[in-house]
């Protein structure tokens, strides 16, 4: 591949006015030309649906693709907490700059200033747009929008719809998309999976898809291609992602020359329901808000932990003095409210010492008994009860605050969290890394764009709560509709792209050959079993903490697993049929390569920052040590089977000062 010049293409000028000035001077496509231009949007979650509907509103002819039976099933739907916006409705000193600053700092200074500032700027418009679409956000009695606060910030800027914000925002975008589908401006292709990107004369001009109902391989052409295909957390097998979430569209593009940026940056969420057995398919998130009142602990002695693991003792049997409230001990200033990455690592340390509290030894307690007692006493005083049942009063308060979460916990685990402390463990939740894009959200392949979680651009090494929804919608509603014009304005003389071009035929042949190859292996092991083993390797060597030795070993193991996969995988059913196992196989095959790249990236980054913790690079107290001198860059990888090639985009911080985070 030719020499890369990784230019962010950000406009020059003052950070605060950059986006406004840029919009004013950008190339436009006239309405009569838009009518002749086709755009492919792959993925119809928050970013994809919002992009497809907005581009259609502008007059482009959009072809949208999802592997789901309907755009409404995208995993954006599962986001719980909320969406940030610098509205300053609470009059608490919020501003665009403050949201920008919080996001840069939260990302541990590994994201691009200009992109993040733009995100903060458009955040307010997202709320307006969603309200107009009929998203039923929470409101105050006065009828105005309510806000709550979220981890890592000092203002209340999170808009929410109970615990289902993602659902409501996605339904809003889905409805806008539906409106364009019925006008014919968007051609919706449900149950179609993108299996390859078609590049013609160096520009992205189409995709090859498989119709999941009948296995038909189809060619689709357009003037440009937009990827909004989400993150790759499923490489870990167990994650809070949906079962179908995959990296394939992005990875197929990487194999066609796009660059994968910061793949090792994954976010591990500390409060998930732990794994209960080998059959486990998925992990469920418990809201971060629980750490406001819950205290995290493990037994002080390994013997106690053992007897809990063997089921001889329960959490309540351990005396107060025999408990180690390790977050309060290690981080007295922040206690149980340390950021996600810190809390996750501390839980791993405790379990690695053998103090885990579930059958598998991989869980810590999240205990509400102190909160119940504290609230119970306060309630007794305020109600003036002389002979109070403190526990009962306290439980009522806790129920009012977290009732639905406790109910969900009980549904899944069958244990009553009011009586026994909850068991939690960290789980993979979000991937900050993704396809490398410039300021226009265009990848290094001209005409190929990436939005939302699929790109790497805004969250650096760690994402703040309630920012994923914001980024997805910002990219789809307010960024790509403008920036896509920079590319398309040069394409107005390009005729409709023909699917008869040799590049399409070649790509189609590649896809067909690949499927035939996978099917003809006819080995003995299920796709699922390979995925599970891959996930185990990833979690073990590229999970919450990494070291050079483990990463090298992990990489080797993945290569061996990949080799075994192509030797012994068994895919039942036919190629020309509805065949979920075949779908899984192509996705896992891609994960088997991405996993290796993540190891390579993590090994290259000799520092600890955000979600990436290298055991060799820590302070004496065991905290993350960033290396701003040598690693203030974006790692953009060019994939090849032998040794991926690193391209660097240096990050410049002109508007914020790089500081070390401390929670002691």
């Amino acid at each position: 591949m030719a020499d890369f010049n990784l230019r962010s293409n950000e406009p020059s000028g003052d950070l605060a006015s950059k986006w406004t000035d840029y919009r004013g001077s950008m190339n436009l496509v006239a309405p009569n030309n838009k009518r002749n231009i086709e755009v492919i949007v792959v993925g119809t979650g928050l970013a994809g649906a919002s992009a497809a509907s907005t581009l259609a509103e502008l007059g482009y002819n959009v072809k949208a693709f999802t592997f789901h039976d309907s755009p409404r099933r995208a995993h954006s739907i599962a986001a719980q907490g909320g969406i940030n916006a610098a509205k300053n409705y609470q009059n608490d000193g919020d501003s665009t700059y403050r949201l920008f600053y919080d996001t840069i700092k939260g990302g541990d200074y590994r994201s691009r200033e200009s992109n993040v500032h733009r995100l903060a700027e458009v955040s307010a418009s997202i709320i307006d747009q969603c309200v107009a679409q009929g998203v039923p956000f929470a409101r105050e009695y006065g009828g105005l929008l309510a806000n709550r606060s979220f981890g890592g910030v000092q203002v209340s800027r999170t808009f929410y719809a109970r615990g289902q914000t993602g659902q409501q925002l996605l339904i809003g975008a889905y409805q806008s998309l539906s409106r364009q589908i019925v006008t014919g401006q968007v051609k919706m292709h449900n149950r179609h999976e993108m299996l390859d990107l078609v590049v013609v004369d160096g520009k992205a001009r189409g995709i090859i898809t498989r119709n999941l109902l009948n296995g038909q391989i189809e060619r689709h052409a357009a003037h440009c291609v937009v990827l909004a295909t989400g993150g790759y957390g499923n490489v870990f097998y167990l994650s809070t992602n949906a079962m179908g979430s995959n990296v394939s569209a992005a990875w197929r593009s990487v194999k066609k020359g796009a660059l994968m940026a910061n793949p090792c940056f994954t976010q591990i969420h500390p409060t998930c329901i732990p794994v209960s057995g080998h059959y486990q398919s998925k992990l469920t998130l418990m809201s971060e808000s629980l750490r406001n009142d819950g205290r995290v602990w493990v037994p002080k002695s390994i013997e106690d932990a053992k007897s809990i693991q063997e089921g001889k003792k329960k959490g309540i049997d351990i005396a107060e003095d025999d408990r180690d409230y390790y977050l309060e001990r290690r981080y007295p200033a922040f206690g149980n409210l340390v950021p996600r990455d810190v809390a996750s690592r501390a839980a791993k340390v405790a379990c690695d010492e053998g103090k885990g509290v579930s059958q598998t030894g991989l869980a810590v307690f999240l205990d509400f008994s102190s909160a119940i007692e504290r609230y119970g006493k306060a309630e007794a005083i305020s109600q003036g009860i002389s002979n109070p049942d403190i526990t009962k009063l306290g439980e009522a308060v806790v129920e009012a605050k977290y009732g639905n979460l406790f109910e969900m916990y009980e549904k899944i685990t069958g244990e009553n969290p009011y009586k026994n402390p909850m068991k939690i463990y960290p789980a993979v939740h979000y991937t900050m890394g993704g396809v490398w894009v410039d300021y226009n959200l265009e990848t290094n392949i001209p005409g190929l764009f990436a939005l939302g979680e699929a790109n790497f651009s805004d969250h650096g090494a760690n994402r703040l709560g309630a920012s994923a929804l914001m980024q997805g919608l910002a990219d789809g509603y307010f960024v790509i509709p403008y920036t896509i014009g920079q590319f398309l304005s040069k394409e107005i003389r390009t005729d409709k792209i023909s699917t008869d071009l040799p590049e399409f035929a070649e790509a189609e042949r590649g896809v067909t050959d690949r499927l035939l190859r996978l099917k003809s292996i006819n080995g003995t092991q299920s796709v699922e079993s390979f995925h599970r083993r891959l996930g185990h390797i990833m979690w073990e060597y590229c999970g919450m903490s990494r070291n050079a030795e483990g990463l090298k070993k992990g990489r080797q193991m993945i290569r061996e697993l990949r080799e075994e996969f192509y030797r012994d995988v068994f895919i039942p059913g036919d190629l020309e049929d509805y065949n979920p196992e075949l779908e899984k196989a192509t996705r896992v095959a891609d994960f088997l390569e991405l996993g290796e790249l993540m190891m390579v990236d993590a090994l290259d980054r000799n520092e600890s920052c955000g979600g990436h913790f290298r055991e060799e690079y820590k302070t004496e107290e065991g905290e993350a040590r960033r290396d701003d001198e040598n690693y203030t860059y974006v790692s953009a990888w060019e994939w090849n089977d032998i040794e991926p090639i690193l391209h660097k985009e240096d990050l410049e911080f002109a508007n914020v000062e790089l500081k070390t985070r401390s929670y002691k």
């Binding site: 919002s50 509907s53 907005t54 509103e57 039976d69 755009p71 409404r72 099933r73 995208a74 995993h75 739907i77 599962a78 409705y89 307006d128 747009q129 969603c130 309200v131 107009a132 679409q133 009929g134 039923p136 409101r139 105050e140 006065g142 009828g143 105005l144 929008l145 719809a161 109970r162 289902q164 659902q167 409501q168 409805q175 806008s176 539906s178 409106r179 589908i181 019925v182 449900n190 109902l213 809070t240 949906a242 079962m243 059959y279 398919s281 998925k282 469920t284 998130l285 969900m408 549904k411 899944i412 685990t413 069958g414 299920s526 699922e528 039942p572 049929d577 509805y578 979920p580 196992e581």
Partner: protein
Amino acid sequence: MKLNLKIWRQKNSNDKGHYEAHSVEATGDMSFLEMMDVLNEQLINDKKEPVAFEHDCREGICGSCNMVINGQPHGPQSGTTTCQLHMRHFKDGDDIVIEPARAAAFPVIKDLVVDRSSFDDIIQAGGYISVNTGQAPDGNSIPIEKDMAMQAFDAATCIGCGACVAACPNGSAMLFTSAKVAHLGLLPQGKVEHTRRVQSMVATMDKEGFGMCSNIGACEAECPKGISIENIAMLNRSYIASVFGGQK
């Protein structure tokens, strides 16, 4: 625990379909879908075709996983989707019959997978507010009564799983359609297009081949999100008003 399953197998929409008996070993901590995973792993190891069923988020929100378990959409636990139903609600030796959602408007694609695209068609007929990106006024420019916003939210929690249609002896989609009409019609933003929306969505619902509501309430009882048939009454009311009060 050992479970005796009777599962509907159907190769494609043209196939007649039949029940197939399997037994599977499960534990109480497994979710229903994880039990199905175990079964499929068994089948694959025997070089047989696994049972096709739809699933994705496995946390009760995407709406993919509706299947009919012992005659109940999403199984016996109320307010719970199949993916969140756990095997501890069954006991050793139980017989479980698993069938696809049945309705003429939901043709079977394969085994337990049905085609629910008629729901998309209903939404496309008017289940939206016509506002282009960029046209919106400030989010706080229209105050909305808190209770009204909550009521709209309750209707908007529909996950489009089709349990209502599966539960209805008439295969009616009134709960689904009415939930969207109520969500948008209760909000001031959505009132502008209410009349047009109601007419168009009802016409599409009829065209898709869904049955008529006979006010039995099975939909409401089986809805994993607890959406009320009060919404159906609102749709009826709105429909009458749209016919007799509308200009067209």
